[in-house]
């Protein structure tokens, strides 16, 4: 049986998918996940979930425009105003910018491969 593994680095953080392990039951899956993903890196907590219980939709399945351009949703689009005086807006925009960069990089990687 295959178990997907999610690792949380620090208390209060997010559990991020790091890979999977092959194990006969939940207890063994937890043990293998610790050995493969917990011991090597700083880890606070690990989740394991049976692969069968994980469902996926991707941008080819979705009808709500997975990769459609949604520039109107991004703070970066509204450049006729200067938000530099509002710290929390600046931070939000920076996060959005970073997310956009990541999307671009992923697209490029896909095109190159």
């Amino acid at each position: 049986m295959i178990w997907e593994v999610f690792r949380q680095e620090k208390p209060g953080g997010y559990h991020r998918h790091v890979g999977n392990v092959h194990a006969p039951d939940r207890e063994m899956a937890k043990l293998f996940a610790q050995i493969q993903h917990g011991r090597r890196m700083q880890t606070h907590s690990i989740w394991v979930a049976p692969q069968d219980e994980i469902s996926e939709v991707d941008d080819e399945d979705t009808s709500f425009g997975g990769t459609t351009d949604k520039a109107y949703r991004w703070a970066m689009t509204y450049n006729r105003v200067d938000a530099s005086g509002i710290q929390e807006v600046v931070e939000s925009e920076a996060e959005q910018r970073a997310a956009a960069k990541k999307r671009e990089a992923a697209k490029k990687e896909e095109a190159d491969s």
């Binding site: 997010y14 109107y72 509204y78 105003v81 938000a83 005086g85 710290q87 807006v89 931070e91 939000s92």
Partner: protein
Amino acid sequence: MDLDTVKERAGPRQFSPKDDMPQEYREAATRMIQFHANSEVMGGYLEKPFIRQAPSLDRKLAFSAKVQDEIGHAQLLYRAAESLGVKTRDEMLDELAEGKGKFLNCFHYPMKTWYEVPMIGFFVDGAAMRRQATLKSTSWEPYAHAMDKVCFEEGFHVKHGEDMLRELMTSSKANQERTQEAFEEWWPRVIQFFGPVNSQSTHHGFAAEVGLKTKSNDELRQAFLNTYIPKAERYGLEIPDTPEIIYHEDEGRYEVVEEDLDWDQFWTIAKNDYDGSYEQIGSRADRQEAVEWVREQMDSYETAHSGTAPQAAD
């Protein structure tokens, strides 16, 4: 965990559903997050009719996305509240429909014109975002996680809100005057967004001690005024004479003359007893009832399949 330990350990993202939290903490956190979630719902419903009135396709796209976000924020927050084990999402939605659920003062006032839209989209969202940014370090981890996603989206709301205001205030003289009128109507409500001064706030002390709140109402209001008064002025809006706001230059602090604000109305609203409260709560309750059959179908489907379904709710 006992209350003393909670107060000792209180800090950003300190407590999660894995911790055995005392009833007092769970109730205080539920009260706070439920209020926040209700406000997202009621804000979204207040704005929704204006999607149709958007003056351009660009505005319509942006504004409908914004309203959609607000309802999404409510869903995230009801989940964070549910994870405290005090109330279910259904209970909270019913309380809201029955007029028992509390929500932000600003969303008890009916909106009539497009000129009011940036009053919410810029000033109310701006005030809310100021507060939400500080809640990224609340002690209830699921609440902080919801704030991560909410704040990511709010930058768009506030900038788009500012852009709507900019557009109106750089257009015809008549538009500028109507915008000023809307501003005068909304300004005192926005100031009251942060509630009464600390001494009158009943729940602040405990929420701060256990790390749920990290900033006082007054600190938040100061930060808001510091940023948004210059913003309003930049676009040519005149700050109304009442409430009187005195700037103490030596301390870099604004003093709002509290007696200039209508606190009777504020407390009537807090009890959901204002005319607008009945209107807003009632119209949303009607819509909840209208889709009751969908909920029923989903519930019976879930019960019928509960033998095989994983614990989807968690």
